[in-house]
Symmetry: C2
Subunit: 318 residues, 2 copies
Protein backbone atom coordinates (compact mmCIF):
# COMPACT_ATOMS: atom_id res chain seq x y z
CA UNK A 1 0.00 0.00 0.00
CA UNK A 2 1.44 3.38 -0.97
CA UNK A 3 2.16 5.87 1.78
CA UNK A 4 2.32 9.67 1.74
CA UNK A 5 6.12 9.31 1.72
CA UNK A 6 6.02 7.10 -1.41
CA UNK A 7 3.87 9.58 -3.29
CA UNK A 8 5.44 12.81 -2.04
CA UNK A 9 3.71 15.93 -0.83
CA UNK A 10 3.55 17.74 -4.17
CA UNK A 11 2.10 14.77 -6.01
CA UNK A 12 -0.32 14.18 -3.12
CA UNK A 13 -1.66 17.72 -3.52
CA UNK A 14 -2.00 17.20 -7.27
CA UNK A 15 -3.93 13.93 -6.89
CA UNK A 16 -6.19 15.20 -4.12
CA UNK A 17 -6.79 18.49 -5.91
CA UNK A 18 -7.76 16.65 -9.07
CA UNK A 19 -10.67 15.13 -7.18
CA UNK A 20 -11.61 18.24 -5.26
CA UNK A 21 -11.42 21.07 -7.71
CA UNK A 22 -12.92 19.86 -10.99
CA UNK A 23 -16.13 21.82 -10.61
CA UNK A 24 -14.48 25.08 -9.62
CA UNK A 25 -14.23 26.95 -12.89
CA UNK A 26 -13.74 30.36 -11.32
CA UNK A 27 -10.49 29.50 -9.57
CA UNK A 28 -7.58 31.25 -11.26
CA UNK A 29 -5.01 30.23 -8.76
CA UNK A 30 -4.91 26.41 -8.74
CA UNK A 31 -1.23 25.67 -9.16
CA UNK A 32 -0.45 29.33 -8.59
CA UNK A 33 0.83 31.00 -5.42
CA UNK A 34 -2.69 31.65 -4.20
CA UNK A 35 -6.28 31.11 -5.33
CA UNK A 36 -7.96 34.10 -6.97
CA UNK A 37 -11.71 34.04 -6.46
CA UNK A 38 -14.61 36.11 -7.58
CA UNK A 39 -18.14 36.26 -6.26
CA UNK A 40 -21.05 38.52 -7.12
CA UNK A 41 -20.99 39.88 -3.55
CA UNK A 42 -17.61 41.51 -4.11
CA UNK A 43 -16.43 44.04 -6.67
CA UNK A 44 -12.77 43.13 -6.10
CA UNK A 45 -11.23 39.68 -6.57
CA UNK A 46 -10.25 37.82 -3.42
CA UNK A 47 -6.84 36.19 -3.09
CA UNK A 48 -6.74 33.28 -0.63
CA UNK A 49 -3.85 31.14 0.52
CA UNK A 50 -2.76 28.98 3.46
CA UNK A 51 0.68 27.80 4.53
CA UNK A 52 1.86 25.57 7.34
CA UNK A 53 5.12 26.15 9.22
CA UNK A 54 6.07 23.03 11.18
CA UNK A 55 8.93 22.33 13.59
CA UNK A 56 11.41 19.93 12.07
CA UNK A 57 10.29 20.78 8.52
CA UNK A 58 10.29 24.57 8.26
CA UNK A 59 12.40 25.42 11.30
CA UNK A 60 14.60 23.64 13.82
CA UNK A 61 13.78 23.22 17.49
CA UNK A 62 16.32 25.94 18.42
CA UNK A 63 14.99 28.55 15.96
CA UNK A 64 14.38 31.97 17.54
CA UNK A 65 10.64 32.22 18.34
CA UNK A 66 10.25 35.62 16.67
CA UNK A 67 11.73 34.13 13.50
CA UNK A 68 9.14 31.32 13.57
CA UNK A 69 6.34 33.87 13.75
CA UNK A 70 7.96 36.04 11.06
CA UNK A 71 8.30 33.06 8.72
CA UNK A 72 4.72 31.83 9.24
CA UNK A 73 3.25 35.21 8.35
CA UNK A 74 5.92 36.00 5.74
CA UNK A 75 5.24 32.90 3.66
CA UNK A 76 1.57 33.83 3.30
CA UNK A 77 2.30 37.51 2.57
CA UNK A 78 4.86 36.40 -0.02
CA UNK A 79 2.26 34.23 -1.77
CA UNK A 80 -0.21 37.12 -1.81
CA UNK A 81 2.52 39.50 -3.08
CA UNK A 82 3.33 37.07 -5.90
CA UNK A 83 -0.21 37.56 -7.27
CA UNK A 84 0.27 41.34 -7.09
CA UNK A 85 -2.45 41.51 -4.42
CA UNK A 86 -2.89 43.70 -1.37
CA UNK A 87 -2.94 41.63 1.83
CA UNK A 88 -5.83 42.41 4.17
CA UNK A 89 -6.30 39.84 6.92
CA UNK A 90 -4.69 36.80 8.49
CA UNK A 91 -5.96 33.98 10.69
CA UNK A 92 -3.43 31.91 12.64
CA UNK A 93 -3.96 28.43 14.04
CA UNK A 94 -1.16 27.44 16.38
CA UNK A 95 -0.55 23.92 17.66
CA UNK A 96 1.86 23.71 20.61
CA UNK A 97 2.95 21.08 23.11
CA UNK A 98 1.17 21.67 26.46
CA UNK A 99 4.54 21.90 28.22
CA UNK A 100 5.72 24.78 26.02
CA UNK A 101 6.43 27.94 28.05
CA UNK A 102 3.71 30.49 27.38
CA UNK A 103 6.43 33.08 26.97
CA UNK A 104 7.72 31.29 23.86
CA UNK A 105 4.21 31.32 22.41
CA UNK A 106 4.01 35.05 23.08
CA UNK A 107 7.32 35.63 21.30
CA UNK A 108 6.18 33.61 18.30
CA UNK A 109 3.03 35.76 18.13
CA UNK A 110 5.11 38.90 18.60
CA UNK A 111 7.15 37.94 15.53
CA UNK A 112 4.00 37.19 13.54
CA UNK A 113 2.31 40.35 14.72
CA UNK A 114 5.26 42.64 14.01
CA UNK A 115 5.49 41.54 10.39
CA UNK A 116 1.73 41.80 9.89
CA UNK A 117 1.70 45.28 11.42
CA UNK A 118 4.54 46.38 9.14
CA UNK A 119 2.30 45.74 6.16
CA UNK A 120 -0.90 47.02 7.76
CA UNK A 121 -2.38 43.54 7.86
CA UNK A 122 -4.72 42.58 10.71
CA UNK A 123 -4.60 39.20 12.44
CA UNK A 124 -8.32 38.72 12.94
CA UNK A 125 -8.73 35.19 14.22
CA UNK A 126 -7.37 31.73 14.66
CA UNK A 127 -7.10 29.08 17.30
CA UNK A 128 -4.69 27.62 19.86
CA UNK A 129 -4.62 23.83 20.27
CA UNK A 130 -2.40 21.34 22.07
CA UNK A 131 -0.38 18.90 20.00
CA UNK A 132 2.93 17.06 20.07
CA UNK A 133 4.67 19.20 17.44
CA UNK A 134 4.82 23.00 17.27
CA UNK A 135 3.08 24.16 14.10
CA UNK A 136 1.52 27.34 12.74
CA UNK A 137 -1.09 27.35 10.00
CA UNK A 138 -1.60 30.82 8.58
CA UNK A 139 -4.50 31.72 6.30
CA UNK A 140 -4.32 34.91 4.31
CA UNK A 141 -6.89 37.04 2.52
CA UNK A 142 -5.91 39.66 -0.03
CA UNK A 143 -7.65 41.66 -2.72
CA UNK A 144 -7.11 42.77 -6.28
CA UNK A 145 -9.07 44.84 -8.79
CA UNK A 146 -11.12 42.30 -10.71
CA UNK A 147 -9.20 40.27 -13.28
CA UNK A 148 -5.80 41.83 -12.62
CA UNK A 149 -4.02 38.97 -10.79
CA UNK A 150 -0.48 38.33 -12.02
CA UNK A 151 -0.29 34.58 -12.58
CA UNK A 152 2.56 32.17 -13.23
CA UNK A 153 1.26 31.40 -16.69
CA UNK A 154 1.37 34.85 -18.28
CA UNK A 155 4.90 34.89 -19.77
CA UNK A 156 5.50 34.97 -23.55
CA UNK A 157 8.52 34.26 -25.72
CA UNK A 158 10.97 37.14 -25.56
CA UNK A 159 9.83 38.42 -22.13
CA UNK A 160 12.71 39.45 -19.87
CA UNK A 161 13.26 37.60 -16.57
CA UNK A 162 13.88 39.58 -13.38
CA UNK A 163 14.44 38.66 -9.77
CA UNK A 164 14.36 40.91 -6.70
CA UNK A 165 17.05 40.97 -4.00
CA UNK A 166 19.71 38.29 -3.66
CA UNK A 167 19.63 34.53 -3.89
CA UNK A 168 21.01 31.53 -2.01
CA UNK A 169 22.12 30.61 1.47
CA UNK A 170 18.83 31.59 3.12
CA UNK A 171 19.27 28.72 5.59
CA UNK A 172 21.81 30.89 7.42
CA UNK A 173 19.16 33.34 8.58
CA UNK A 174 16.97 34.77 5.84
CA UNK A 175 14.54 31.83 5.70
CA UNK A 176 13.28 32.91 9.14
CA UNK A 177 13.72 36.66 8.95
CA UNK A 178 12.95 37.50 5.32
CA UNK A 179 10.74 40.38 4.32
CA UNK A 180 7.95 39.52 1.86
CA UNK A 181 7.99 41.74 -1.25
CA UNK A 182 4.49 43.09 -0.72
CA UNK A 183 4.92 46.67 -1.98
CA UNK A 184 6.95 45.45 -4.95
CA UNK A 185 4.32 42.88 -5.95
CA UNK A 186 1.51 45.43 -5.79
CA UNK A 187 3.54 47.99 -7.76
CA UNK A 188 4.41 45.46 -10.47
CA UNK A 189 0.72 44.64 -10.89
CA UNK A 190 -0.61 48.20 -10.63
CA UNK A 191 1.76 49.45 -13.29
CA UNK A 192 1.22 46.37 -15.45
CA UNK A 193 4.95 45.70 -15.66
CA UNK A 194 4.81 42.01 -14.76
CA UNK A 195 3.38 39.54 -17.30
CA UNK A 196 3.99 36.56 -14.97
CA UNK A 197 5.18 36.26 -11.38
CA UNK A 198 6.03 33.69 -8.69
CA UNK A 199 7.70 33.91 -5.31
CA UNK A 200 10.88 31.91 -4.75
CA UNK A 201 10.08 29.28 -2.14
CA UNK A 202 11.54 26.12 -3.71
CA UNK A 203 14.63 27.72 -5.29
CA UNK A 204 15.14 29.59 -8.55
CA UNK A 205 15.61 26.47 -10.72
CA UNK A 206 12.38 24.85 -9.50
CA UNK A 207 10.24 27.97 -9.32
CA UNK A 208 11.36 29.12 -12.78
CA UNK A 209 10.30 25.65 -13.98
CA UNK A 210 6.85 26.25 -12.46
CA UNK A 211 6.63 29.61 -14.22
CA UNK A 212 7.67 28.34 -17.67
CA UNK A 213 5.47 25.24 -17.41
CA UNK A 214 2.41 27.31 -16.58
CA UNK A 215 3.37 29.71 -19.40
CA UNK A 216 3.97 26.81 -21.85
CA UNK A 217 7.36 28.30 -22.64
CA UNK A 218 11.04 27.82 -21.88
CA UNK A 219 13.78 30.05 -20.46
CA UNK A 220 17.43 31.00 -20.86
CA UNK A 221 19.26 32.02 -17.70
CA UNK A 222 22.45 34.07 -17.59
CA UNK A 223 24.19 32.74 -14.49
CA UNK A 224 26.69 35.61 -14.43
CA UNK A 225 23.74 37.94 -13.91
CA UNK A 226 22.35 36.05 -10.92
CA UNK A 227 22.42 38.15 -7.73
CA UNK A 228 24.33 35.67 -5.56
CA UNK A 229 23.98 36.58 -1.88
CA UNK A 230 26.83 36.94 0.57
CA UNK A 231 25.32 34.08 2.56
CA UNK A 232 25.55 31.84 -0.53
CA UNK A 233 29.23 32.77 -0.94
CA UNK A 234 29.92 31.96 2.71
CA UNK A 235 28.26 28.54 2.78
CA UNK A 236 31.57 26.71 2.28
CA UNK A 237 29.94 23.32 1.91
CA UNK A 238 31.49 22.22 -1.38
CA UNK A 239 28.60 23.53 -3.46
CA UNK A 240 29.38 26.62 -5.54
CA UNK A 241 27.74 29.94 -4.62
CA UNK A 242 26.05 29.89 -8.04
CA UNK A 243 24.53 26.49 -7.34
CA UNK A 244 23.28 27.79 -4.03
CA UNK A 245 21.67 30.75 -5.79
CA UNK A 246 20.08 28.42 -8.34
CA UNK A 247 18.83 25.71 -6.05
CA UNK A 248 18.49 26.88 -2.44
CA UNK A 249 14.89 27.24 -1.32
CA UNK A 250 13.19 29.93 0.75
CA UNK A 251 14.65 33.10 -0.72
CA UNK A 252 11.09 34.52 -0.82
CA UNK A 253 12.12 36.97 -3.53
CA UNK A 254 9.90 37.68 -6.55
CA UNK A 255 10.69 36.16 -9.94
CA UNK A 256 8.80 37.87 -12.76
CA UNK A 257 8.76 38.67 -16.45
CA UNK A 258 8.43 41.97 -18.33
CA UNK A 259 7.59 42.40 -22.02
CA UNK A 260 10.85 43.13 -23.93
CA UNK A 261 9.61 46.48 -25.23
CA UNK A 262 9.00 47.65 -21.66
CA UNK A 263 12.24 46.41 -20.13
CA UNK A 264 14.24 49.64 -20.26
CA UNK A 265 11.49 51.87 -18.94
CA UNK A 266 10.65 49.25 -16.32
CA UNK A 267 14.24 49.22 -15.04
CA UNK A 268 14.29 53.00 -14.83
CA UNK A 269 10.95 53.10 -13.01
CA UNK A 270 12.07 50.37 -10.57
CA UNK A 271 15.23 52.29 -9.64
CA UNK A 272 13.18 55.42 -9.06
CA UNK A 273 10.73 53.53 -6.83
CA UNK A 274 12.73 51.02 -4.79
CA UNK A 275 16.09 50.73 -3.07
CA UNK A 276 15.84 46.95 -3.31
CA UNK A 277 17.89 45.58 -6.20
CA UNK A 278 16.25 43.93 -9.19
CA UNK A 279 18.42 41.87 -11.53
CA UNK A 280 17.81 41.02 -15.20
CA UNK A 281 18.70 37.33 -15.23
CA UNK A 282 17.53 35.96 -18.57
CA UNK A 283 14.60 35.67 -20.93
CA UNK A 284 11.65 33.51 -21.89
CA UNK A 285 12.06 31.28 -24.97
CA UNK A 286 9.67 29.34 -27.14
CA UNK A 287 11.31 25.98 -26.36
CA UNK A 288 8.58 24.62 -24.09
CA UNK A 289 9.86 23.04 -20.90
CA UNK A 290 13.52 23.76 -21.63
CA UNK A 291 15.58 25.85 -19.23
CA UNK A 292 19.02 26.61 -20.57
CA UNK A 293 21.76 28.04 -18.40
CA UNK A 294 24.70 29.68 -20.19
CA UNK A 295 27.85 29.26 -18.14
CA UNK A 296 30.66 31.80 -18.19
CA UNK A 297 32.91 29.42 -20.10
CA UNK A 298 30.36 29.29 -22.90
CA UNK A 299 29.09 25.85 -21.92
CA UNK A 300 25.37 25.05 -21.76
CA UNK A 301 23.63 23.47 -18.86
CA UNK A 302 20.13 22.12 -19.10
CA UNK A 303 18.26 21.48 -15.91
CA UNK A 304 16.13 18.36 -16.01
CA UNK A 305 12.47 18.28 -16.81
CA UNK A 306 11.58 18.47 -13.14
CA UNK A 307 13.95 21.21 -12.13
CA UNK A 308 15.96 20.87 -8.98
CA UNK A 309 14.85 17.29 -8.34
CA UNK A 310 16.70 16.12 -11.46
CA UNK A 311 19.15 18.98 -11.55
CA UNK A 312 22.18 17.45 -13.25
CA UNK A 313 24.72 20.21 -12.86
CA UNK A 314 25.05 20.28 -9.09
CA UNK A 315 28.66 20.18 -7.96
CA UNK A 316 30.05 19.61 -11.43
CA UNK A 317 30.87 23.18 -12.29
CA UNK A 318 32.78 24.55 -9.29
CA UNK B 1 7.69 29.51 34.12
CA UNK B 2 4.07 29.10 33.04
CA UNK B 3 3.32 26.64 30.26
CA UNK B 4 0.47 26.47 27.76
CA UNK B 5 -1.06 23.74 29.97
CA UNK B 6 -0.99 26.04 33.04
CA UNK B 7 -2.74 28.85 31.19
CA UNK B 8 -5.20 26.80 29.14
CA UNK B 9 -6.03 27.14 25.47
CA UNK B 10 -8.96 29.53 25.86
CA UNK B 11 -7.06 31.90 28.13
CA UNK B 12 -4.04 31.68 25.79
CA UNK B 13 -6.19 32.85 22.88
CA UNK B 14 -7.55 35.71 24.99
CA UNK B 15 -4.11 36.88 26.06
CA UNK B 16 -2.55 36.59 22.62
CA UNK B 17 -5.56 38.21 20.97
CA UNK B 18 -5.38 41.14 23.36
CA UNK B 19 -1.96 41.94 21.98
CA UNK B 20 -2.78 41.24 18.38
CA UNK B 21 -6.15 42.74 17.74
CA UNK B 22 -6.28 46.13 19.51
CA UNK B 23 -6.08 48.17 16.34
CA UNK B 24 -8.71 46.22 14.43
CA UNK B 25 -11.84 48.25 14.97
CA UNK B 26 -13.72 46.74 12.06
CA UNK B 27 -13.74 43.19 13.43
CA UNK B 28 -17.23 42.24 14.56
CA UNK B 29 -16.42 38.69 15.31
CA UNK B 30 -13.69 38.64 17.97
CA UNK B 31 -15.07 36.27 20.56
CA UNK B 32 -17.79 35.24 18.13
CA UNK B 33 -17.99 32.09 15.99
CA UNK B 34 -16.21 33.82 13.12
CA UNK B 35 -14.72 37.20 12.26
CA UNK B 36 -16.94 39.50 10.20
CA UNK B 37 -14.89 41.86 8.07
CA UNK B 38 -15.61 44.70 5.74
CA UNK B 39 -13.41 46.35 3.17
CA UNK B 40 -14.13 49.05 0.63
CA UNK B 41 -13.34 46.56 -2.15
CA UNK B 42 -16.36 44.45 -1.27
CA UNK B 43 -20.04 45.27 -1.11
CA UNK B 44 -20.81 42.25 1.09
CA UNK B 45 -19.26 41.50 4.49
CA UNK B 46 -16.77 38.64 4.64
CA UNK B 47 -17.01 35.98 7.32
CA UNK B 48 -13.70 34.26 8.10
CA UNK B 49 -12.90 31.41 10.43
CA UNK B 50 -10.34 28.64 10.92
CA UNK B 51 -10.54 25.44 12.95
CA UNK B 52 -8.05 22.69 13.64
CA UNK B 53 -9.02 19.03 13.91
CA UNK B 54 -6.21 17.04 15.54
CA UNK B 55 -5.80 13.33 16.21
CA UNK B 56 -5.98 12.61 19.92
CA UNK B 57 -7.88 15.85 20.61
CA UNK B 58 -10.76 15.96 18.14
CA UNK B 59 -10.81 12.33 17.03
CA UNK B 60 -9.26 9.03 18.07
CA UNK B 61 -6.72 7.11 16.05
CA UNK B 62 -9.38 4.58 14.98
CA UNK B 63 -11.90 7.20 13.77
CA UNK B 64 -13.30 6.48 10.30
CA UNK B 65 -11.35 8.64 7.81
CA UNK B 66 -14.48 10.02 6.14
CA UNK B 67 -15.71 11.14 9.56
CA UNK B 68 -12.43 13.01 10.15
CA UNK B 69 -12.89 14.89 6.87
CA UNK B 70 -16.57 15.51 7.60
CA UNK B 71 -15.76 16.92 11.02
CA UNK B 72 -12.95 19.18 9.80
CA UNK B 73 -15.17 20.82 7.18
CA UNK B 74 -18.31 20.63 9.33
CA UNK B 75 -16.79 22.62 12.20
CA UNK B 76 -15.96 25.51 9.90
CA UNK B 77 -19.32 25.43 8.12
CA UNK B 78 -21.04 25.36 11.51
CA UNK B 79 -19.14 28.49 12.60
CA UNK B 80 -20.12 30.27 9.38
CA UNK B 81 -23.73 29.12 9.79
CA UNK B 82 -23.80 30.50 13.32
CA UNK B 83 -23.20 34.01 11.90
CA UNK B 84 -26.07 33.46 9.44
CA UNK B 85 -23.59 33.61 6.57
CA UNK B 86 -23.42 31.80 3.26
CA UNK B 87 -20.26 29.66 3.01
CA UNK B 88 -18.30 30.15 -0.22
CA UNK B 89 -14.82 28.64 -0.11
CA UNK B 90 -12.57 26.45 1.99
CA UNK B 91 -8.81 25.91 2.14
CA UNK B 92 -7.50 22.77 3.84
CA UNK B 93 -4.01 22.26 5.25
CA UNK B 94 -3.41 18.63 6.14
CA UNK B 95 -0.50 17.36 8.20
CA UNK B 96 0.03 13.59 8.05
CA UNK B 97 2.71 11.14 9.11
CA UNK B 98 4.82 10.13 6.09
CA UNK B 99 3.98 6.48 6.72
CA UNK B 100 0.22 7.07 6.46
CA UNK B 101 -1.35 5.09 3.60
CA UNK B 102 -2.27 7.49 0.82
CA UNK B 103 -5.62 5.74 0.61
CA UNK B 104 -6.50 6.97 4.10
CA UNK B 105 -5.64 10.52 3.05
CA UNK B 106 -7.92 10.15 0.04
CA UNK B 107 -10.77 8.94 2.24
CA UNK B 108 -10.31 11.88 4.61
CA UNK B 109 -10.48 14.23 1.62
CA UNK B 110 -13.48 12.35 0.26
CA UNK B 111 -15.30 13.00 3.55
CA UNK B 112 -14.31 16.67 3.50
CA UNK B 113 -15.21 17.04 -0.15
CA UNK B 114 -18.60 15.32 0.14
CA UNK B 115 -19.76 17.66 2.90
CA UNK B 116 -18.46 20.74 1.07
CA UNK B 117 -20.19 19.64 -2.13
CA UNK B 118 -23.46 19.12 -0.26
CA UNK B 119 -23.48 22.81 0.57
CA UNK B 120 -22.10 24.01 -2.76
CA UNK B 121 -18.84 25.08 -1.16
CA UNK B 122 -15.61 24.81 -3.16
CA UNK B 123 -12.34 23.61 -1.66
CA UNK B 124 -10.01 25.98 -3.48
CA UNK B 125 -6.61 25.47 -1.92
CA UNK B 126 -4.49 24.25 0.92
CA UNK B 127 -1.37 22.27 1.51
CA UNK B 128 -0.13 18.80 2.40
CA UNK B 129 2.79 18.53 4.84
CA UNK B 130 4.47 15.73 6.74
CA UNK B 131 4.25 15.72 10.52
CA UNK B 132 4.08 13.30 13.45
CA UNK B 133 0.37 13.81 14.22
CA UNK B 134 -2.51 13.76 11.77
CA UNK B 135 -4.17 17.19 11.72
CA UNK B 136 -6.42 19.20 9.44
CA UNK B 137 -6.62 22.97 9.54
CA UNK B 138 -9.62 24.25 7.62
CA UNK B 139 -10.06 27.91 6.71
CA UNK B 140 -13.49 29.08 5.63
CA UNK B 141 -14.76 32.15 3.80
CA UNK B 142 -18.39 33.13 3.80
CA UNK B 143 -20.40 36.23 2.95
CA UNK B 144 -23.27 38.26 4.30
CA UNK B 145 -25.14 41.38 3.18
CA UNK B 146 -23.33 44.22 4.89
CA UNK B 147 -24.06 44.63 8.58
CA UNK B 148 -26.43 41.67 8.89
CA UNK B 149 -24.26 39.17 10.82
CA UNK B 150 -26.06 37.46 13.69
CA UNK B 151 -23.73 37.75 16.67
CA UNK B 152 -23.63 36.20 20.11
CA UNK B 153 -24.23 39.53 21.78
CA UNK B 154 -27.61 40.46 20.27
CA UNK B 155 -30.03 38.93 22.80
CA UNK B 156 -32.30 41.09 24.99
CA UNK B 157 -34.29 40.37 28.14
CA UNK B 158 -37.43 38.45 27.29
CA UNK B 159 -36.08 36.89 24.06
CA UNK B 160 -37.00 33.22 23.65
CA UNK B 161 -34.23 30.60 23.50
CA UNK B 162 -34.33 27.92 20.80
CA UNK B 163 -32.07 25.05 19.85
CA UNK B 164 -32.09 22.96 16.66
CA UNK B 165 -31.98 19.16 16.57
CA UNK B 166 -31.14 17.03 19.59
CA UNK B 167 -28.49 17.32 22.27
CA UNK B 168 -26.00 15.09 24.07
CA UNK B 169 -24.07 11.89 23.46
CA UNK B 170 -22.41 13.16 20.27
CA UNK B 171 -19.30 11.17 21.19
CA UNK B 172 -21.10 8.03 20.03
CA UNK B 173 -21.07 9.14 16.40
CA UNK B 174 -22.48 12.59 15.74
CA UNK B 175 -19.29 14.49 16.61
CA UNK B 176 -17.74 13.04 13.44
CA UNK B 177 -20.76 12.78 11.17
CA UNK B 178 -22.85 15.81 12.09
CA UNK B 179 -24.43 18.05 9.51
CA UNK B 180 -23.76 21.77 9.97
CA UNK B 181 -26.96 23.83 10.04
CA UNK B 182 -26.06 26.00 7.07
CA UNK B 183 -29.48 26.49 5.48
CA UNK B 184 -31.07 27.07 8.89
CA UNK B 185 -28.48 29.72 9.84
CA UNK B 186 -28.95 31.62 6.58
CA UNK B 187 -32.74 31.44 6.85
CA UNK B 188 -32.70 32.70 10.45
CA UNK B 189 -30.60 35.70 9.37
CA UNK B 190 -32.42 36.42 6.09
CA UNK B 191 -35.80 36.50 7.81
CA UNK B 192 -34.40 38.41 10.76
CA UNK B 193 -35.76 35.86 13.23
CA UNK B 194 -32.57 35.42 15.25
CA UNK B 195 -31.43 38.25 17.54
CA UNK B 196 -28.36 36.27 18.71
CA UNK B 197 -26.85 32.94 17.65
CA UNK B 198 -24.02 30.53 18.47
CA UNK B 199 -23.23 26.98 17.41
CA UNK B 200 -22.97 24.33 20.11
CA UNK B 201 -19.38 23.15 20.17
CA UNK B 202 -18.57 23.23 23.90
CA UNK B 203 -21.96 22.04 25.18
CA UNK B 204 -25.22 23.88 25.83
CA UNK B 205 -24.29 25.08 29.35
CA UNK B 206 -20.99 26.61 28.20
CA UNK B 207 -22.17 27.99 24.88
CA UNK B 208 -25.28 29.53 26.45
CA UNK B 209 -22.90 31.18 28.92
CA UNK B 210 -20.95 32.65 25.98
CA UNK B 211 -24.18 33.97 24.46
CA UNK B 212 -25.50 35.59 27.65
CA UNK B 213 -22.10 37.07 28.54
CA UNK B 214 -21.76 38.69 25.13
CA UNK B 215 -25.38 39.90 25.42
CA UNK B 216 -24.81 41.18 29.00
CA UNK B 217 -27.86 39.23 30.09
CA UNK B 218 -28.86 36.04 31.88
CA UNK B 219 -31.01 33.04 30.99
CA UNK B 220 -33.58 30.66 32.37
CA UNK B 221 -33.57 27.13 30.97
CA UNK B 222 -36.47 24.69 31.11
CA UNK B 223 -34.75 21.33 31.30
CA UNK B 224 -37.96 19.41 30.55
CA UNK B 225 -37.99 21.14 27.18
CA UNK B 226 -34.44 20.14 26.23
CA UNK B 227 -34.37 17.86 23.18
CA UNK B 228 -32.35 15.01 24.73
CA UNK B 229 -30.96 12.74 22.02
CA UNK B 230 -31.29 8.97 21.93
CA UNK B 231 -27.50 8.77 22.12
CA UNK B 232 -27.59 10.75 25.38
CA UNK B 233 -30.16 8.32 26.82
CA UNK B 234 -28.03 5.36 25.83
CA UNK B 235 -24.74 6.58 27.29
CA UNK B 236 -25.22 4.55 30.49
CA UNK B 237 -22.21 6.06 32.22
CA UNK B 238 -23.85 7.20 35.47
CA UNK B 239 -24.50 10.71 34.18
CA UNK B 240 -28.16 11.51 33.53
CA UNK B 241 -29.32 12.00 29.91
CA UNK B 242 -30.26 15.57 30.86
CA UNK B 243 -26.74 16.28 32.08
CA UNK B 244 -25.39 14.89 28.83
CA UNK B 245 -27.68 17.21 26.89
CA UNK B 246 -26.58 20.15 29.01
CA UNK B 247 -22.85 19.55 29.07
CA UNK B 248 -21.70 17.29 26.22
CA UNK B 249 -19.73 19.13 23.57
CA UNK B 250 -19.81 18.91 19.79
CA UNK B 251 -23.53 18.78 19.10
CA UNK B 252 -22.98 21.40 16.38
CA UNK B 253 -26.60 22.49 16.62
CA UNK B 254 -27.62 26.16 16.57
CA UNK B 255 -28.62 27.95 19.77
CA UNK B 256 -30.40 31.22 19.09
CA UNK B 257 -32.84 33.78 20.43
CA UNK B 258 -36.04 35.24 18.95
CA UNK B 259 -37.86 38.37 20.14
CA UNK B 260 -40.86 37.29 22.25
CA UNK B 261 -43.39 39.02 19.99
CA UNK B 262 -42.11 37.00 17.04
CA UNK B 263 -41.95 33.61 18.74
CA UNK B 264 -45.28 32.19 17.59
CA UNK B 265 -44.92 33.25 13.97
CA UNK B 266 -41.31 32.09 14.00
CA UNK B 267 -42.30 28.62 15.17
CA UNK B 268 -44.95 28.36 12.48
CA UNK B 269 -42.55 29.54 9.78
CA UNK B 270 -39.86 27.10 10.98
CA UNK B 271 -42.22 24.13 10.76
CA UNK B 272 -43.24 25.16 7.25
CA UNK B 273 -39.59 25.45 6.17
CA UNK B 274 -37.66 22.62 7.86
CA UNK B 275 -38.14 19.01 8.88
CA UNK B 276 -35.43 19.44 11.48
CA UNK B 277 -36.87 19.96 14.96
CA UNK B 278 -36.44 23.24 16.81
CA UNK B 279 -37.14 23.33 20.56
CA UNK B 280 -38.12 26.29 22.72
CA UNK B 281 -35.88 25.75 25.75
CA UNK B 282 -36.05 28.91 27.84
CA UNK B 283 -35.70 32.65 27.78
CA UNK B 284 -33.25 35.51 28.27
CA UNK B 285 -33.40 37.36 31.60
CA UNK B 286 -31.99 40.63 32.85
CA UNK B 287 -29.92 38.98 35.60
CA UNK B 288 -26.52 39.42 33.99
CA UNK B 289 -24.36 36.33 34.08
CA UNK B 290 -26.94 34.15 35.82
CA UNK B 291 -28.19 30.96 34.18
CA UNK B 292 -31.03 29.37 36.08
CA UNK B 293 -32.25 25.87 35.34
CA UNK B 294 -35.75 24.96 36.58
CA UNK B 295 -35.92 21.26 37.40
CA UNK B 296 -39.12 19.26 37.09
CA UNK B 297 -39.42 18.99 40.88
CA UNK B 298 -39.55 22.77 41.09
CA UNK B 299 -35.97 23.08 42.34
CA UNK B 300 -33.57 25.61 40.92
CA UNK B 301 -30.13 24.92 39.65
CA UNK B 302 -27.63 27.66 38.99
CA UNK B 303 -24.67 26.87 36.83
CA UNK B 304 -21.49 28.60 37.99
CA UNK B 305 -20.09 31.79 36.57
CA UNK B 306 -17.92 29.89 34.15
CA UNK B 307 -20.51 27.43 32.91
CA UNK B 308 -19.63 23.79 32.62
CA UNK B 309 -16.25 24.22 34.30
CA UNK B 310 -17.96 25.12 37.57
CA UNK B 311 -21.17 23.32 36.83
CA UNK B 312 -22.41 22.41 40.29
CA UNK B 313 -25.38 20.22 39.48
CA UNK B 314 -23.65 17.38 37.68
CA UNK B 315 -24.79 14.01 38.97
CA UNK B 316 -26.83 15.47 41.81
CA UNK B 317 -30.20 15.39 40.08
CA UNK B 318 -30.49 11.90 38.61
Amino acid sequence: MKTLRDIGECEAIRRLAGKLFPAVAEVVGIGDDAAVMHDEGFNADLVLTSDPVIEGTHFTIDAPPKGIGNKAVGRVLSDIAAMGAEPLWLLINIVAPPEMPFDKLQQIYAGASALALKFGVAIIGGDVASGATLALHVFGVGKLPRGTAVCRGGASEGDILYVTGELGGSIRKKHLFFEPRVAEGIWLRENRWATAMIDLSDGLATDLRHLVEMSRAGAELEPDALPVSRAAREMNDGMSPLDHALTDGEDFELLFTVAPGNADSFEQAWRAEFELSCARIGRITGRTGSIVCRTERGGMLLTGKRGYEHYSGRGSRA
